[in-house]
Amino acid sequence: MDFRFEIVQDYMPFFLKGMAVTIGVSLAGILIGLILGLFIALGNMSSNKLIRLPFNIYINIFRGTPLLVQLLIIHFGIVPMFMSPSDPLVSLIIGLSLNSAAYIAEIFRAGIQSIDKGQMEAARSLGMTRVQAMKLVILPQAVKRVIPPLGNEFIVLLKESSLGSVLAAPELMYWGRAAAGQYIRIWEPYLTVALIYLVLTLSLTYLMNYVERRMKTDDLR
C-alpha cells in the first residue's frame, strides 16, 4: 500500500490547529465536569432518597446513552434556546462537561467513600456539622484519591471529543475527516490523527504517573 505523505503534509497545519482545539475543549470539559460532578456526587450521596433520585437519573442517562446522541440533542435542541446560531464548540464543551460530570460524580463518590469512616466520626464528634466535616476533613483527603481516575477520565474525554466532528467542531478528528473526504483516502489522515491522539494520551499518562509518584512521596497519611 502506498502512503502519500504529501496528504499528511498538506493537512498538518489543520491537524495542529485541531489538536489545540481538542486539548482546549477537553480541558474545558473536565474543568466544568469537575464542578458539576462534585455537586452531583454530593447530591447522589444524600441520605434522602428523594434528593438522590434526580442525581441518580442524571448519572444513569448520561452514562447510559451514546455521547453522539447527547451531543446532537444538546447542539440542536438545547443550546439554540440560549444562543443563535449555536456554536458547535460551545455545544461540544457543554456536552463533554455534562457527560463527564456523570462519570466524575461516580469517581468522587468512590473517592469520598474510600475515606475511613472514622474521619467523619471524629469530625462530627468535635461538633462539626456534616457540611463542615465534608468541606474541612473528607474532601481534602478525597482529592488525592480521585486524581488517578480523574486523569483516566481526562484521557477518555480527550478521545471522545472526537465526536465533535459530527457537529463540525473543528477539532482533530474533524480535520482528519476533512482530509479523508478531500482525497477519498482513509489511511493517511486517520493514522496521522491516531498518532496525534496517542501522543496526547501518552503524555498525559506520563504526567499522571509523575503526579501520582510525587503524591506518594509527600503522602500525608
Binding site: 502506498d2 498538506d10 493537512y11 497545519p13 489543520f14 446532537l72 447542539h75 440542536f76 435542541g77 439554540p80 443563535s84 446560531p85 449555536s86 458547535p88 466532528s165 459530527v166 457537529l167 463540525a168 480535520w175 475527516r177 476533512a178 482530509a179 479523508a180 473526504g181 478531500q182 482525497y183 477519498i184 483516502r185 482513509i186
Partner: protein, 255 residues
Amino acid sequence: SLLLSACGSGGEQQSGSEDKKVLNVGTEATFAPFEFMDKGEVSGFDVDLLNAAAEEAGYEVDIKNTGWDAMLAGLQSDQLDIGMSGVTITDERKETYDFSSPYFESVSMIVFKEGTNITKAEDLKGKKIGVQNGTTGQIAAEAIVGKNDSSISKYEAAALTFQALQSGDVEAVVTDIAVALEYVKNNPDAGVKTVSDEQFTPEYYGIVFSKGSELKAEFDEALNTLYENGTYTEIYKKWFDEEPNLDVLKEAAVQ
C-alpha cells in the same frame, strides 16, 4: 440590562438594511467533487453553484461544513436556511423538506476490482455491494437488489466505501459517476474498473430548504437563470470537464 447594552453598542448603529441578507448553509464536506474541504476551505461544484445562485437571488451565503447529521438537525430547527450537500431528491424526503428544482443529474456507476465479472447492473445481484449511506448510489443499488437487502453495506463516507472495496468487504461499489471518477483520479493505482448502465434510473440532486421555505421559489428562479445565461455550464465544465445536459434538468424540473 437595557441600559448596559445601550451603552455597549453606543458607537455603531446597525445600518445594514441595504446589505444582502446572509443565509446559513450547512454541508457535509466529504463528498468530493461536490463538496469537500480543500485544505480548510469548503469547495466543490455545489459550493460554486450555490454561490452563483445566491448572488442571482440577491443573498449572501455562509457555507459551513456542519456535517450531515448537523445539517439535517439545523434545517429542522431552522438554524440553517439551506442544506447543500449533493442531497438526492426522493418522495420520502419531500415529506420533511422542500427541494429546489433539480440542479444535477446523478447517474450511478459501478466500481469494482479488476477481475470481477461485472458488465451491467444486473450483475450486482448475488454480489456484495457497498454504497454511501443515503446517496443516489444506495437508491440505485437498492432498486436492483431490494431495500435494506443484506447484500448491501452502507458506509458513512465515500472513502470508507472504496476502502471496503479494496479490502474485499464488498465486490462492487455503486456511486455517483463524479465521485467514482474522482476516486480513480486520486487513486490511479487502485486497480479498479468502472461500468455504467442505462438501467440505473437517474436521480437528481436538489438544494434542501425547510418545509414551506420562501427561499425555494427564489432559488428555483435563480437556478433557471444560471441555466440560461451559461453560468451553470461554466461551473459544470470547471468541475466535470464536460458539457452538462441542461434539457434533462429542465425536464425533471417539470415533473
